[in-house]
């Protein structure tokens, strides 16, 4: 336990001294925050509330990027070897990585929530508990994904390529950048297989509709399930030494982490629950904008949009 605590403290300290961390984990999230809430959300409360979910989701998901890079760098430079010859265990290293990540994400999230309330007058943040449950589960699961990426790549270059390959679909097909309801129908269907989609949707429901954490049990349960799987897998595949080869079974094991969201994706594609929810939220957001500046209305390209007139603006 003490190893875990002192490693967590070290990781937080090192991150705060790192310029890259400062840029990617503090500057970038606030650029997104003001860009989305101010520009896309037109600085109106309903618009800002609608885009706060994707902003928080991006914030939380970004944790895998820096984490995988740090672990690979630690391994390449022989830093992990030094820990290996001390009584530090694999779980000490991995758990401290995840917890340090969470501790570093929370202040940004808290600050963003404060600004959303104070500057953009988002007054639907009644369920803060639900928001923090999602932040915690999201950070833990995506940080664990970062740990797996670190285990199955050998060099920093490989890691960054894989990070890109994972990041792009996660942010573009999930509703984290463009609203899910705004994407082509086929893309929406593909998005239902991604963990990011559920995180974005859960955030939006909790923020816009003050949904409780309990009512979002599908998203939360599947993310928890995925987090446990990926963390367990990262324990199995962890390598202290750059020379240690990636085991052949690694690919199979990594593929197995897709199972929770594969099953959920099939289910959701049949029920269309998430798609309906995201369309309702999107329509409500548009109605709110319509009432202000009708000319700036975005059009819904997908078929079964809910009639905006049923959802009067608040």
């Amino acid at each position: 336990m003490s190893n875990f605590a002192s490693l967590t403290e070290m990781r937080i300290r090192l991150a705060l001294r790192n310029k890259m961390f400062f840029f990617f984990s503090i500057v970038m999230p606030f650029i997104f925050f003001f860009g989305y809430l101010g520009f896309f959300g037109k600085s109106v409360p309903a618009g800002a509330a609608y885009f706060l979910g994707p902003v928080l989701a991006l914030n939380v998901m970004g944790s895998f990027w820096g984490l995988s890079a740090t672990i690979v760098m630690f391994r390449e430079q022989g830093i992990l070897r030094r820990f290996h010859v001390s009584p530090v265990t694999t779980s000490d290293i991995l758990a401290s990585s995840v917890v340090a990540n969470l501790a570093l994400t929370l202040p940004t999230v808290i600050f963003e929530l404060l600004l959303a309330g104070l500057i953009f007058h988002v007054h639907t943040l009644h369920n803060l508990f639900g928001i923090f449950v999602l932040v915690a589960i999201g950070t833990i699961s995506f940080a664990s994904l970062g740990l797996v990426i670190a285990s199955i790549t050998n060099t920093m270059q490989e890691t960054q390529v894989l990070n890109q390959l994972i990041w792009l679909p996660l942010v573009f097909l999930s509703g984290a950048t463009f609203p899910l309801a705004y994407l082509p129908k086929v893309v929406q269907r593909v998005g239902l297989f991604l963990p990011a989609t559920y995180l974005v949707n859960a955030f939006q429901q909790v923020i816009v509709n003050s949904a409780t954490a309990l009512s979002r049990y599908t998203e939360i349960a599947s993310l928890v399930c995925w987090a446990i799987l990926t963390f367990f897998l990262s324990m199995q595949l962890f390598r202290w030494e750059p020379e240690t080869k990636i085991p052949r079974r690694a690919k199979l094991l990594v593929a197995s982490t897709a199972i929770p969201f594969l099953l959920l994706g099939i289910w959701e594609n049949r029920t269309d629950r998430i798609l309906r929810e995201s369309q309702t939220a999107f329509a409500a957001f548009q109605t709110a904008l319509d009432s202000l500046r009708p000319a700036m209305r975005m059009s819904i390209q997908s078929g079964n949009a809910v009639n905006p007139s049923n959802h009067a603006p608040k």
Partner: protein, 306 residues
């Protein structure tokens, strides 16, 4: 054997098709500085890393402080200290933070303050790791190896890549530890290091121990000869020089006679007697004792640092 702190029996380790260690055996007593001397790629580091619990062995038996590194890695790591080869610390970790962090991992601890003082790092306590010089980094590595007041220390190539001045600094530190009767296993490919620091040395080549003993024993056992170089006021014939006591070989180099002697004291006495009888005089005399390098050449036909 008395108090064997560390025992290795028929250790074998493969990497794929490559046999890195091929049946290495030795034991290290408490309070002894034991050297593993050999060229790069001889299997020294692999052997040490198995002892530290960093690598698994293929066959053989290993015990460190009475513990099997594969069965009780956590207990073992509480008892050992190590300065590894090709290792590093995070760039933005300060010296004092590194010592405190690593001290926190152990049940038995030394005060980081005392280690800073002892290793001359007091002024660098708040310096980032990436701002330290090579010698300072190595001193920190040695200090970190001592944070848990270990029973056995492993120093893997502790002076590799350091300039001669810094190397001597590191020697002083290791000699001090030797005086404190620390048990140390040291790998090196520097002859000087093995001769100066080690009580006993195992010479390793191609994954096997080819000789083991005190540096003195090794040199006499290998039949290594002492080089006696003399300059005389008048020339003598090679035949006469070769007949001096203990001399096995004579060569003339730049007007000097280079004698290879198995018994240098007798050789010199008989040389002086001969010169007195001939009315000849000794102009200069140089004696070079054999080194472990000569032992290595004798046994393998190669130089150590090829």
């Amino acid at each position: 054997m008395g108090n064997a702190m560390l025992q290795v029996e028929n250790l074998v380790k493969h990497y794929g098709d490559v046999q890195a260690v091929r049946g290495v055996s030795f034991s290290v007593e408490e309070g002894e500085v034991f050297g593993l001397l050999g060229p790069n790629g001889a299997g020294k580091t692999t052997t040490v890393e198995i002892l530290e619990g960093l690598r698994t062995l293929d066959s053989g038996r290993v015990s460190v402080c009475g513990l099997d590194p594969q069965e009780k890695p956590q207990e073992l790591k509480q008892e050992i200290g190590a300065a590894l080869q090709s290792t590093s610390l995070p760039d933005k970790l300060r010296v004092m933070e590194a010592l405190r962090l690593f001290a926190s991992f152990y049940k038995r601890r030394r005060r980081p303050e005392d280690l800073l003082k002892r290793f001359g790092l007091e002024e660098k306590r708040n310096t980032f790791y990436n701002q330290l010089s090579g010698g300072q980094k190595q001193r920190l590595a040695l200090a970190m190896a001592l944070v848990n007041d270990p029973k056995v220390l492993f120093f893997d190539e502790p002076t590799a890549g350091l300039d001669p001045q810094v190397r001597r600094e590191i020697y002083d530190i290791i000699e001090e530890l030797r005086r404190e009767k620390k048990t140390i296993v040291l790998t090196t490919h520097y002859i000087e290091e093995a001769e100066r620091l080690c009580d006993r040395v195992a010479i390793i080549d191609h994954g096997k121990v080819i000789a083991l003993g005190t540096p003195r024993e090794l040199k006499s056992r290998a039949g290594a000869t002492t080089r006696v170089e003399v300059r005389l006021s008048k020339p003598e014939s090679n035949g006469i020089m070769k007949n001096l006591e203990g001399v096995v070989d004579v060569r003339e180099v730049d007007g000097a006679y280079v004698l290879h002697s198995q018994r240098p004291p007798q050789t010199i006495v008989s040389l002086v007697k001969h010169l007195e009888a001939q009315g000849n005089e000794l102009v200069s005399l140089e004696i070079a004792t054999p080194s472990l390098e000569d032992v290595f050449i004798e046994m393998t036909g190669r130089r150590l640092r090829d």
